[in-house]
Subunit: 412 residues, 2 copies
């Protein structure tokens, strides 16, 4: 049985490396007599590469070769990844992808195509890099109704926040360090604005709750507004700020889903997830909380997740793996501003005492937080469980108070 | 398709509860038209139980009923669990167990039987309660060579150690609290002496490294020797004491495997695993470190793992799941005393200065640790990487020094 790889970038070349490095055990585990690489599709030329003879620039070489049963898509982007994947599935080939953009935007369509043509479309590597998460959710947790899922889904932003928390580094310096270390792109917006995390929570929520969640329906807020002042106050609260993707089952067959920096209490597994690591918490009605932790990116971790899917495809050539979800309605996601939680608030005030009196009379008891060298005109506090809608109105009603930041306090 | 449950204790009744509670989604996920409970085998009488009509005291009712395709074994103990399971597998029925004693002692034999009779023997719930670990190891990590595995595998001892660390509670008091909370049995020896953790690391090591690891070949040390003095010194080292089960691939196709209290640096996922939670770290050659965290015991978490296996059996009635390992040779496990690591040592000395001089001359530089109110005759320090063999000899050679405790310092 033959495999082709489309896109010889970081992940694609990692897949080729893992396929070769662990070749014998992979063949054994795939229950095949052989499992070998036949083509690498890439426009670029890789002179001297050990697999130089396998390169092609023609997609049709792969599409029309009946001996190729499994194709790895690691090109990234929506086009032509979507067209290629569709054509391969229609030809009855299995496709394995690490492309979160593709799955988040087109997962429903591609899974339906795979079903129609009795083949597999697998995407373990699209979330959490090498962390096994798609398969545990779809199989191991099969006996649970999943109520909620939350995760640190982006290593770049987690590295930046870790530097801010542990080294008191300003956001811009932490971003520069991430770029120097190769953890952030030259254009870091997809990471720091939360779009990457958004795609991943869309995939997880689609899988957990059974209907496709589209990125454009998910409120997404990045970490560019987080300051060292917030980090210090939250430290006083015994907690840390993490960029979380969250989704939760709500009433009337709807769900909530959003990406935003939020507060996680120290001592939890998410709080102790530092640097470029990712962690995903799944809350099931029978299992309670389960957390999956590991490297969320990187050549070999991600490649190993891709190759695990390749093995699974090889084992399921005749009978496809049951995996899929339904189309969702327009109003499937409820407005994030209606999801109640305790909130952290930092505000500038004209008169501290007057502001505190007004806060007490409009919001009841709040927990004030401390940081060293705070100006006399700054207040930070945590208010009890309420919706962002109600909170905003209450804060707006207080004269001389200007909100500098608000963050949701989670129970993860 | 029908299911039977043998043993209506905590886990068995939990399985019945989950099968009923999540019935519709379970049937859907198992790709069957129906999946219903037909028998509960138990000698006791459960008057008024909603499933009262399904109880039987005759194993043969289950064995001889062709409509029962999947049997859940939650009786515990080796006998008659082993005889029943063997008979069921020989009859071509799938068996799902949560019985770690059975899998650790008889896993190889039962997996061979399952293979011979083209049926399934699954045991996700035998390790880590509800945490998905057996399936991720055998499938998701298929593309990795696993180099090492280490885990907090016993919730009772982790609760006791957490109370000692966080509340400064003495071992006996913490054990009593665990018993009062239902986290420890009246006879707690299987937990506190490490035997439960031993069975679990045997199962994990068998799966990761491909040959059966027998409990009697695994050095096992419990937590009864851990004192608050050790806890305090280790705190000064920026670490905590955890009862770990560890296994590692060694040279010449051998492995190491042992259970002992060991030191884990703060900030790691294992260090932040508190109370009755479990966590299992898997170190793969492509994936790096991955950690699985969750409730390691409890009625519903464990039951949900059992039911996930039941669903998997239902999906694999015709073609069995590939799962198994080989028989091992007698000298498969290397002596734990030859596994090098840094070590923590606490000792009573006659003369502190003389002892420190002798330590410097025999062991080179060590890191001395501090605790409040330590007697003048006590020393605690961490020595560099060496085997326990070498360390013991060096310590024995120092006059007037009596070792009170030694603990391995891990890099997990």
């Amino acid at each position: 049985m033959y495999v082709a790889v489309m896109g010889y970038g970081t992940v694609g070349s990692g897949v080729v490396e893992v396929l070769s490095k662990n070749h014998d055990s992979i063949v054994k585990r795939s229950l095949q007599d052989s499992l070998d690489l036949k083509y690498i599709l890439d426009k670029r030329v890789f002179k001297g590469d050990p697999n130089e003879d396998k390169f092609t620039t023609e997609f049709d070489d792969i599409l029309n070769d009946d001996s190729v049963k499994i194709v790895v898509e690691t090109m990234g982007g929506l086009h032509p990844a979507f067209e290629f994947t569709s054509a391969l599935l229609k030809a009855g080939k299995s496709v394995v992808t690490s492309n979160k953009e593709l799955v988040a935007a087109k997962g429903y369509e591609l899974l339906e195509l795979a079903k129609e043509h009795n083949t597999n479309f697998l995407f373990e590597a699209s979330v959490g890099g090498g962390i096994p998460i798609i398969r545990p959710i779809s199989q191991c947790l099969a006996a649970n109704e999943i109520d909620e899922i939350a995760g640190i889904l982006n290593g770049t932003t987690n590295f930046i926040l870790t530097m801010m928390i542990e080294k008191n580094m300003a956001f811009d310096d932490a971003l520069r360090l991430a770029q120097e270390n190769g953890f952030a792109e030259r254009d870091p917006s997809a990471d720091i604005e939360g779009h990457d995390a958004c795609r991943k929570i869309c995939i997880l929520a689609s899988l957990c709750f059974g209907k496709h969640v589209y990125p454009e329906s998910v409120h997404t807020e990045g970490i560019t507004g987080i300051t060292l002042e917030d980090v210090a106050y939250v430290h006083d609260f015994g907690a840390v700020i993490k960029l979380l993707g969250c989704a939760k089952r709500m009433e009337n067959d709807k769900i909530s889903a959003f990406v935003e920096p939020a507060i996680v209490k120290n001592g939890s597994q998410l709080a102790s997830t530092s640097d470029v690591f990712n962690a995903i918490l799944v809350r099931g009605n029978a299992i309670g909380d389960v957390v999956f932790y590991g490297k969320g990116a990187g050549k070999l971790p991600t490649a190993s997740a891709v190759v695990a899917d390749v093995i699974d495809c090889a084992k399921h050539t005749e009978r496809r793996k049951a995996l899929g979800w339904e189309q969702s309605e327009d109003n499937y996601i409820v407005d994030y501003r209606t999801i109640a939680a305790p909130f952290y608030v930092r505000a500038a005030v004209e008169n501290k005492e007057a502001a505190q009196e007004a806060i007490a009379s409009t919001m009841g008891e709040v927990q004030y937080l401390h940081r060293d060298n705070a100006p006399e005109t700054e207040l930070a506090f945590v208010v009890g469980t309420q919706t962002e809608e109600v909170l905003s109105k209450a804060l707006e009603s207080i004269e001389g108070l200007k909100v500098l930041s608000t963050l949701r306090v989670t129970d993860y």
